[in-house]
């Protein structure tokens, strides 16, 4: 029997997903495993990471607990992980403050997690030569990088930096046939938005601004990420993909 035709298959690929213990990262880990990938799942919370592991299809997946804002955790993660073909830099947080009330420690926290962790993790992986030739990097930015809303300055700026960083990676790692792209999701139904500091009423109103009158589902972002990880995305690098409507 011939194998089913599927250019989006991840069979034979190993993919590291950060923020795999929740939301978009968890959906990405699950969908990657369903398409044949071996998943390396990382996050801070052991219990939530365990829930993701339990939901994966197939065998051989690994989970490594790590706080990406801690240098020692990043180096241990990279040391312990196997060779990878895909990196999904997805871990992120949000803090809402009007600019006049921005707190220094929150600003640090947002940039450490959303932006600087992309730099440190990518650097550590590439220095350790853990990314295979022909690999793919996907950085989860946000529509917020381009469409600012009141109180979202810290988050928006941190995500604009991520979109730019994805392009720099595309340029510098092209000689190794490694691709790099950014994904910009609109609002997605995840725990982030339940604790994001918007009232239930404001969320319902906001949904009406979307063509489909709803927020995205985590797997609808995962499928875009998978396109970029798979061979179907072989001629996409240095791009930004908006997933919103």
């Amino acid at each position: 029997m011939t194998e089913a035709y599927n250019p989006f298959s991840l069979a034979g690929k190993t993919v590291l997903v950060t923020g795999a213990s929740s939301g978009i990262g968890r959906a990405t880990a699950i969908e990657c495993s369903r398409l044949g990938a071996t998943v390396v799942a990382t996050g801070r919370d052991e219990a939530r990471l365990g829930e993701t592991m339990a939901a994966l299809t197939g065998k051989g997946h690994v989970s490594i607990q790590a706080d990406l804002t801690k240098a020692e955790d990043v180096s241990r993660l990279v040391q312990e992980m196997p060779q990878i073909d895909g990196l999904v830099c997805n871990a992120g947080i949000t803090r809402r403050r009007p600019i006049s009330f921005v707190k220094e420690d929150e600003l640090q926290e947002v940039f450490n997690t959303n932006t600087f962790a992309c730099f440190t993790l990518t650097k550590a992986i590439m220095k350790a030569r853990k990314m295979n030739r022909g690999g793919s990097m996907v950085f989860v930015s946000s529509m917020a990088a381009r469409q600012v809303t009141p109180g979202n300055a810290m988050y928006a700026a941190s995500k604009a930096a991520v979109e730019s960083f994805a392009r720099s990676c595309a340029l510098e790692y092209a000689p190794m046939q490694i691709r790099s792209n950014a994904i910009l999701p609109g609002m997605v139904e995840t725990p982030m938005n339940n604790e994001g500091g918007l009232s239930a009423e404001a969320i319902e109103r906001d949904k009406q601004n979307y063509l489909m009158k709803r927020y995205g589902k985590p797997e609808e972002i995962a499928w875009g990420i998978i396109y970029l990880l798979s061979d179907a995305g072989a001629w996409s690098s240095g791009t930004s993909m908006e997933i919103t409507c």
């Binding site: 809402r96 403050r97 009007p98 006049s100 009330f101 009141p150 109180g151 500091g197 918007l198 009232s199 239930a200 009423e201 404001a202």
Partner: protein, 79 residues
């Protein structure tokens, strides 16, 4: 923690609304200038000045500025 000072701090987040409009009995949701940004500014002001975190639901539940003052007092008591 004084109610007069709280009303003043609350009013301080508004730019266009006449200061005379603000009292402990002001039904702030009905003010033209009140918006999600102002709500966020008030929440942040309360965090900065009173050291407690008011949720959006608390903002929605409060009718007058005094109601919000009482929420802040309760949260401070719980600390």
């Amino acid at each position: 923690m004084e109610i007069e000072e709280f009303v003043e701090n609350f009013a301080g987040q508004f730019v266009d609304t006449d200061l005379n409009v603000f009292s402990k009995d002001t039904v702030f949701h009905e003010l033209d200038e009140y918006s999600s940004l102002i709500a966020l500014m008030v929440i942040s002001m309360i965090d900065e000045v009173y050291g407690v975190t008011v949720e959006y639901d608390d903002m929605a539940a409060a009718v007058t500025i005094e109601d919000l003052f009482n929420t802040v007092k309760r949260l401070k008591g719980e600390q």
